[in-house]
Amino acid sequence: MSAVIETEGLGKRYRTRWALAGCTLSIPAGHVVGLVGPNGAGKTTLIDLATGMLKPSAGTIEVLGGRPAVGPAQLARVGYLAQDAPVYAGLPVADHLRLGAHLNPGWDADLARRRVARLGLDPKQKAGTLSGGQRAQLALSLAVAKRPELLILDEPVASLDPLARREFLQDLMESVAEQQVSVVLSSHLISDLERACDYVIVLVDSRVRLAGPTDELLATHHLLSGPRRDPASLPDGLQVIAASHTDVQTTLLVRTSRPVLDPAWTVSAVGLEDLVLAYMRQAGPAPAAPRDGHRHLEVRK
């Protein structure tokens, strides 16, 4: 499978501070990829490097096999929606479409018009007076109508209310169904990603902590709870992601491709959010000592 974004030792330094350092990753084509991580993990820096808004201080990055934003042809292949979906507040909706048509060689005017009509936007309305959700969908329409091979979205739903967020994702998924475009979207709202993304990358401190198809991650992670026991006594092939103990009980988040049959354990499924959080916490400072009787997931290094 080819990669839409491939980086090798990628880094970006601002004066003395590294916003991204030693980042090596490969994002496969044909997916909707969720890029998640805590604030400061380097998500936006990575996206700015992928769109060519920033130049790397170290390492290399290739987007669709070429250098980011190296010329008009490369620019036309990538659609980008920046954080907070910027639009021109003083320009009417129709002028945004006209602008899009002038600036993009592969512009699909018919698609743009149909989308705006479907969203119920008045072409004469100034973009500054649209609601947050409408503004985001107008910005998405512009990014989609340029007919990119890759669509990059930076925190597209973070500032939207839950209804607008759902509508935006519905709209995005319909575009994916119609146009077979690869999508990379960053977010820290993991619950939204579970439906929309079929591939997840967890970025912590510039490093890929976890990457894989969503279905596979959900199928191979389980929460086990049972009488207290030493994790070292677990069978082979069981990778412990997080463990917590009380005086009588042990709770483990494990990764394994085989079913867990030991009747001593109560096995339950783990949602994507809990799963991703467990991986994110692996990087952080040592967790505070658990209070008595309080179940606390402490992380094994």
């Binding site: 909707v32 319909e174 049959l261």
Partner: protein, 130 residues
Amino acid sequence: MIEFHLDGRSGVAPYLQLIHQVRHALRLGLLHQGDQLPKVKDVVAALAINPNTVLKAYRELEYAGLVAARPGVGTFVTGTLDGGSLAAHGPLRRELQRWLAKARRAGLDDESIEALFASTFRSASEEDIA
């Protein structure tokens, strides 16, 4: 036509949830041979779900011989599930009801009954595998 829904907190992969719902509808007699499943695009629009997820669910149902895709038209139910509808399970259900009544008389509450059933079910499936 059935309608899908998703439980975001269950930890069950969305494509599996779709498969379960089709199988469940077949068992309950809500879906019959020749019925059409919702179009991929409609499921995508209704649930804000990744189209690949819906395609994967439909593909697995097709492998299982339960549905068939007619290109350009849609996906249709072609199979039934063994054992037919729940109505055919009358005798088993009556036996289970007798067992439940016995368990209640023995002083078990709902939670204990569920725990007993789950642990027996698990150890039975384990013996099957071993």
